[in-house]
Amino acid sequence: MSVAAAIGDTMKDASGQEPPKKAGRFVPDMLMAPGMLWLAIFFVVPIASLFLTSLQTPVPGGQVGEFEQTFNFANYVNTLTDDTYYVPLIRSFVYSGIATLLALAIGYPLAYAIAFKSGKNRNLLLVMVIAPFFVSFILRTIAWRQILADEGFVVGILRSIGLVSETGGLYPSAFAVIMGLTYNFLPFMTLPIYASLERVDPRLIEASVDLYAHPFTGFRKVTFPLSMPGVVAGTLLTFIPAAGDYVNAALLGRPSNTMIGNRIEYTFLSVNDYPTAAVLSFILMACILAMVLVYVRRVGTEDLV
């Protein structure tokens, strides 16, 4: 399964063996130059440009969307102390954190079942995991509106068993947003975990059974630690895009469920306040990088770049 392999491989570039051939700089340079140049010009330079934009100030007496290059670091202070910005920022991390845990709770057993209990159907089941990707994710998110609508069967069942009050509903709500985030990134959680579970040597699990380990102890001491690289990759691949997402909050939430992505989009594209939007983007990126570093340090995998 190349997609599973690709996503599983995403996170562990440095661990590959050393390549056999030593070459002068010339050959690899010539091969890589166009692609790497593309990344430099359209990834690195834009990040620098974003940083410069975040320090701009409005042209005195200019029109909306006219800014001049200054080095006004007060933009950061002003934005971070404004609750229309820091509240959605915190909310983003809460929502995406919950969604990541839910995706792990759903995705790990699913990956485990595919890896160990699927027999001949394994490839078919893997196709079923990636099949949602074949439908535009915006349409799938809108489908959740229909599924969670007050007239839908889900609300009907929940109302009849009293979990939702007669007038209550599920959409739009924080619940719907978190559920949508969990849904949209679940395959990114499942595939890397599957990829690492698939590499677990079944003889190790048999050995733990032979040594009288309770199946659960065997899982806790043998299988789970061996699947950690997949868990790390999966949680990152879920948490990072979820924290920056604004489609779920826009389509499934209320204005009170606004995430930082919605703020960035709105500030950039509707208000045309480019410096503030750039500040927000930059802070989001910095927060995510910091969290990823702490997380990876804590979990202690050295497989990451």
């Binding site: 570039d13 440095a14 890589m32 079942a113």
Partner: protein
């Protein structure tokens, strides 16, 4: 009696593991329903006699399928998306494959920096990628449209291509190529007749991945497209007014085409293994 089962450990163990297995299967079935329910809804609502807003089930009709371009803007946006995705697939697969080859086959200084530069775009949220490119385009007064969308998509697809092709290349046995050269093939011949055919499935997979990433991208596109409309952007923008059922027709058709491609690829690889 619980004590009765406790005195027969093999049976108790078997019951428990049967329960464990089937609880897991049951759980997996629920997870699959969760994953596929929206797909089923999207498909079902492509047959809805919907009128303007396709949110509530009305009645069954085949009209949407017989006339997929019936709603304004649906087909032009699909054509835009396919055009962008084709260009992006060609360019990013070419550039990414070259990078993958040099990373796997050559040792050179700056390899870890290169790896980092490939990893970072995948680890950056799309809002940041989209807004930073927009900041660049705004600062340089580049007009937004078709070409800025293509540029942006190629940027984020390259990394995924590199990773996919690299995985395939790394699993190749280098001795195959050496054997060819021992048999007096030139380096170029060995590459063309041994390595390239063996890597081809990986390159094809990378191309398909790039196509689907580009075709389905919304966030980065939304920042950098100006007035240019792709299919996901069209769906998102019309979500407030109501999405025509034709959008569901297009999405369902794409779903079955993609599914057919993947299943055929699996069948052919199974046949190759059997042979």
């Amino acid at each position: 009696m619980s004590s009765a089962t406790a005195t027969k450990p093999p049976l108790g163990f078997r019951i428990r593991s049967w329960l464990g297995d089937n609880a897991l299967r049951f759980y997996a079935v629920i997870a699959f329903i969760y994953l596929l329910l929206p797909v089923a809804y999207t498909f079902a609502f492509s047959f809805n006699n919907a009128g303007r807003t396709n949110l509530v089930w009305n009645s069954f009709t085949l009209d949407n399928w017989l006339n997929p371009c019936g709603a304004p803007q649906v087909c032009p946006s699909v054509v835009n998306s396919i055009t962008v995705a084709l260009i992006v697939t060609l360019v990013s697969t070419f550039l990414g494959t070259l990078i993958a080859f040099s990373l796997v086959r050559y040792r050179f200084r700056g390899r870890s920096t290169t790896n980092l530069l490939i990893f970072l775009p995948m680890a950056t949220p799309e809002v940041v990628l989209g807004s930073s490119l927009l900041a660049l385009f705004l600062n340089l007064f580049v007009p937004l449209g078709f070409s800025t969308v293509v540029i942006a998509h190629i940027m984020f697809c390259i990394s995924f291509v590199v990773v996919t092709v690299k995985a395939r290349l790394a699993s190749l046995d280098p001795r195959l190529e050496q054997a060819a050269m021992d048999l007096y093939a030139s380096e170029r011949e060995a590459f063309r007749r041994i390595t390239l055919p063996l890597v081809a499935p990986g390159i094809a997979a990378a191309g398909l991945l790039a196509f689907s990433l580009s075709f389905d991208d919304f966030i980065i596109t939304n920042f950098n497209s100006g007035q240019f409309t792709t299919f996901p952007k069209f769906v998102y923008v019309s979500a407030t007014r109501g999405i025509p059922a034709q959008a569901n027709v297009i999405a369902s058709a794409m779903f079955f085409i993609a599914l057919a491609i993947v299943l055929l690829a699996q069948l052919s690889s199974r046949r190759r293994k059997a042979a």
